[in-house]
């Protein structure tokens, strides 16, 4: 499932990431535990938090990040 479609308050683990250099420079990588904090309407970005930091990710990019829910 992509992180854009991910619903719920649980954390999820990133399984696969697209090759976007800035994403990894911002500290996002495979195997990382993240939480989806908010999703903007009308094709806006989602905000993902990891630890005490948050990153806004565009819909197109978020659609390519695959995650697995942590129960």
């Amino acid at each position: 499932m992509s992180i854009y479609q991910f619903k719920g308050k649980n954390s999820c683990i990133i399984e696969k990431m697209p090759q976007v250099p800035l994403l990894s420079s911002l500290g996002l990588r495979e195997g990382m535990k993240v939480r989806v904090m908010s999703k903007q309407p009308l094709g806006g970005p989602i905000v993902v938090s990891m630890g005490n930091r948050s990153i806004a990710i565009a819909k197109d990019v978020a659609n390519q990040i695959l995650v697995k829910e942590v129960l």
Partner: protein, 587 residues
């Protein structure tokens, strides 16, 4: 643009050391720079892809050195213009020492950068900054262990309060003595490097789980659509209220009475003791008197708005609200071909278009840069022009004032959509770090407002004086009548304005507010006020803006922007005049 080692660009004197200041964006690097060098830099807000760097002098116990502020980057892979600058500096500048600023609240990502930097085998001192904020968040870092892990000195700092900065300088000269260092094998491979970062973090960092503070909860609420969108409307309305309402108050209650009751009689008296009434007398203290309007316009009509605008903008910037706003407006801005982050230069444009256009360097694609720069040049009134609009329309017709700003928003939207269709290419998707919501530090907040206001007024005063002097000469000598026949069909026929309005259009080339202010002296109908204001709004961006456009985008694009705004101004202004006149005739 080559990978070979070139001659260093920055020269130092015998006995000086050369120090590079590096780090991730938004770690307080520019604060460190201005505190160490004693230089006032606010330009640091607009780094990103800047190809220019700032340098300043540092000294410690009689030793002298040069500190170079390198643009903040997330990595050293030369994938963006800012990173290219950083990599070139590391390759070519033959620095003695690097001061690398680390954000203690975000150590993991910062250490990844630190390790990449160590590959260059130049002596490094690490400044672990923002340790106070980290502490509030329950993050503690073992400085000694981190120093061992990195094989380099680590100094805890709170740059904004001068804590730890002296130690940094001391260490800089100690490390410069060393000449060579060996940081061992640094993993080339990204995954291995992150693994090493992970190991270091486990060794040195402890995070105590805390309940989120009120500010953290607020920060989260501001980014959720349900709470964030209403909040953004309230915040922007409040900002507008402070600038417009506050500006009117300061102007009407304090500045204008001071000016009219004390200054004007005083200066007129002085001049009349030296001069008898005549051309020179009128140029100095007459209708467009340089000593009257040259003081009244900039100080009583413009200054209050500029000052209040920077109070609001600096607060929004320092608190970390703007990136949140960027997330909320992203889907809207996508319609005009730019991503949400560009809201920041657009808002800056309401202060002055020059920093706004420089600020577009942070947008990654050229397409976005051109769209933002064009929209700001065309339809965003600067703080000075806002002051002028309020002076002109505030008392006579608030309806026209509101209408002018609605037309401005509409033009931004339509202009953006047209440019999005015209300019090939795609804009980059939004990828933005959301910083913690913070209460701005009082001292640096006040300093920022002071510096910006001072800078603006210094920039404004000389051209304004010259402009007013020119207007006075033209008005007094009747030179306007000479060109009258030539411009009559456009000004009087098409726009329906009196011939004297031409003065504003001539002066508007110099500064945007000067296209509006001369209208104050004319007796215009409501329709004329609207038409003249719309023409002034879209009219040429001022000389400084044209200069920046040429510098940033070359002459061709700058000319295209200038010429299209010029024609749009006359076209739309005249259209409004003709349509309203026609409709009122039919009714």
């Amino acid at each position: 643009m080559s990978c070979h080692t070139k001659e260093p660009e920055i020269h130092i004197e015998e006995g000086q050391i050369k120090v590079l200041l590096m780090g991730n964006p938004n770690v307080g690097k520019s604060v460190v720079f201005s505190k160490l060098t004693g230089m006032d830099v606010i330009a640091s807000n607009y780094t990103g892809t800047t190809v220019t760097f700032t340098k300043g002098n540092i000294q410690h116990q009689g030793n002298h050195g040069v500190l170079i502020d390198v643009p903040g980057t997330y990595s050293l892979e030369a994938t963006s213009p800012a990173e290219e600058v950083a990599v070139n500096m590391l390759d070519n500048e033959k620095a003695d020492v690097i001061i690398c600023v680390l954000d203690a609240t975000n150590l993991e990502r910062n250490l990844n950068f630190a390790l990449q930097l160590q590959k260059y085998q130049i002596p490094i001192i690490f400044a672990l900054n923002l340790t106070d904020v980290a502490e509030q968040q329950g993050i503690s870092v073992d400085i000694d262990k981190l120093s061992v892990e990195l094989g380099a000195p680590v100094v805890p700092t709170v740059a904004i309060r001068n804590i730890g900065l002296r130690d940094i300088l001391k260490q800089a000269w100690i490390m410069a003595e060393k000449k060579t260092v060996d940081y061992g094998d640094i993993p080339e491979n990204q995954d291995e490097r992150w693994q090493r970062v992970g190991r270091i973090i486990q060794q040195v960092q402890q995070v105590e789980h805390r309940h989120p503070t009120l500010l953290e909860k607020l920060g989260d609420a501001l980014i959720r659509p349900l709470t964030g969108i209403p909040a953004s409307i309230i915040i922007l309305a409040l900002a507008l209220g402070i600038v417009v309402g506050g500006g009117k108050g300061i102007r009407g209650l304090i500045l204008l009475p001071l000016l009219n009751n004390f200054y004007v009689p005083f200066i007129t008296n002085i001049v009349s003791t030296f001069l008898s009434e005549g051309l020179i007398f009128n140029v100095l203290v007459g209708e467009y008197g340089m000593l009257i309007k040259g003081i009244e316009w900039p100080f009583a009509l413009i200054l209050p708005y500029v000052f209040l605008f920077y109070i609001v903008l600096s607060f929004l910037e320092d608190s970390g609200y703007l990136p949140r706003l960027a997330v909320l407006v992203d889907s809207m801005l996508q319609r005009i071909g730019i991503q949400g982050g560009n809201i920041v230069p657009m808002i800056m444009g309401y202060g002055c278009a020059v920093p706004a256009i420089l600020g577009t360097r942070a947008s990654t694609s050229q397409k976005e840069r051109i769209i933002v720069a064009s929209v700001v040049s065309l339809a965003v009134p600067c703080a000075a022009q806002t002051g002028a609009f309020i002076a002109l329309l505030g008392d006579r017709s608030v309806l026209v004032l509101v209408l002018v700003y609605l037309i401005s928003l509409l033009a931004m939207f339509i202009g953006g959509m047209v440019l999005n269709k015209m300019i090939p290419g795609k804009s980059d998707p939004i990828l933005l770090e959301i910083p913690n919501l913070l209460m701005p530090d009082r001292q640096s907040y006040l300093k920022k407002i002071y510096l910006r206001t001072k800078h603006f007024m210094l920039e404004a005063e000389v051209p304004m004086l010259l402009g007013v002097g020119f207007a006075a000469l033209v008005a007094e000598t009747g030179a306007l009548n000479a060109v009258g026949g030539f411009i009559e069909p456009i000004i009087e026929g098409w726009l329906g304005l009196p011939r004297e309005a031409t003065i504003g259009l001539i002066l508007g080339v110099i500064r945007r507010e000067l296209a509006v202010l001369p209208l104050l002296e004319l007796d215009l109908s409501t329709l004329q006020l609207l038409v003249a204001s719309v023409v002034a709004l879209f009219y040429l961006p001022c000389l400084s803006v044209l200069g920046v456009l040429i510098k940033e985008f070359r002459i061709k694009i700058a000319l295209a922007i200038g010429i299209s705004t010029f024609f749009l101004a006359f076209f739309i202004g005249g259209l409004i005049n003709q349509v309203v006149t026609l409709v009122s005739m039919l009714l």
